[in-house]
């Protein structure tokens, strides 16, 4: 039901959002490579931040894997806001990332809504299949060659989804406040 163009478009939209929102500084390098179907397996102690973008014909779960115990990860994300807990900062960043995906998808699907983030154990990952996704892809995200995150796109559709996103190559780093 989800055509190849749509899958490719969603992937490109996510890449753009991740590169602009998951990095704390505009100059930070963000490398995204495809991982196995359950990307969290490479991060066994990881937790997941789950966000959902719902439309009339589909729902898209954006899942970000992170290791809360990894000091480099913690330092990278809280360096500017040391007084705030890591999880609060990271949830906000994930929310911004999903918000960017949502904003881009709004160009093609006028009726969309986005959930607030929620944290789960990475042990939940194998059960994504229970949602009967039509598009499930995991990625390894590396920031500045040191910070390792995982990401999974899980899209369930009950109607044909076909669109081609025109995602600009220029990274949009302007901030958009996504409240949650």
């Amino acid at each position: 039901m989800i055509c190849a163009h749509a899958k490719d478009s969603i992937e490109r939209i996510f890449f753009k959002a991740a590169k602009s929102r998951l990095t704390m500084d505009a100059g930070d390098a963000c490398e995204i490579v495809a991982a196995d179907a359950h990307g969290a397996h490479s991060m066994p102690d990881a937790n997941l931040v789950i966000l959902t973008v719902s439309g009339i014909a589909f729902r898209l779960l954006l899942i970000l894997h992170f290791d809360e115990e990894d000091e480099r990860t913690r330092q990278y994300f809280i360096k500017k806001e040391s007084e705030r807990p890591f999880l609060e900062v990271f949830l906000e960043i994930c929310n911004l990332c999903c918000g960017a995906v949502n904003q881009e998808l709004l160009h093609y699907f006028p009726d969309l809504g986005m959930s607030t983030p929620y944290v789960l154990s990475a042990r939940c990952m194998p059960y994504l299949e229970a949602l009967k996704p039509e598009f499930l892809a995991s990625y390894a995200v590396t920031i500045n060659g040191a910070i390792s995150l995982g990401a999974t796109i899980c899209m369930c559709a009950h109607a044909p989804i076909d669109f081609v996103a025109e995602v600009s190559a220029v990274e949009d780093t302007s901030g958009e406040l996504e409240l949650f």
Binding site: I50, L51, T52, V53, S54, G55, I56, R59, L61, D111, L112, G113, M114, S115, T116, Y118, L120, S121, R123, C124, Y127, L128, A130, L131
Partner: protein
Amino acid sequence: MIQQYLLGALAGVVVTAFAALAAHRLASVKAMGRLRSGADRQVETLTRANAAQSELIALHEQEKQDLDAAIAQLCEDLQQQSDSADEVRSELKAAVEGKDQLAHKAAQLAAEAARLKALASTFERWHEQMISLMTQNQDMHAKNRELSSIVRHVVIVSLNASIEAARAGTAGRGFAVVASEVRALAARSEELSKSYRDSLHRNDLTTTATFQDIQAGGKMITASLSSVESLANQFQSTLH
């Protein structure tokens, strides 16, 4: 002599009288002729004038008839235009009433959309239930971890019991059977605990995905209703 003179005079008078009469008659005839000729000319002139006048009268009559016909046509046109104006007036009145009704409907639509936006709180309430469910799940995770810990302990105890039973030799044979049975039960409990843990993780994911879908769907509906409300308000302002 005198008589002759008198007769001669008389005859002269008579001749003169006749001559005068003849001259008079001649003059009269000539004058009559001239008069008749003049009268004929005048009659002819008058006849021509009369004919011209008659033509003019006929022309004027024709023009009058044309004017009467034009006036009748104009009257008819005026009546038709008057009827059309009445129709247009009534249509305009109906259109104005229709516009008022549309404005009223647009206002109702905007109010209804604004009212339905309160559904967002319903969706949020459902989402809050997720937090409650997930808290219960976390509690079950903790209890299961405790159960798993107990089971692991039982396995160790049963192993120790088996060792002690072996040391006791023949006397401990019965105890060894019991220890083995306890270990088997502990292994089954461990399997059950793992299965329960997996079910809880599956439940965590399904619950989260479902309630996030409800929350996001609620926001989608609220945004759509805001759009409807805005359009209805714009439509209403256009009508006023």
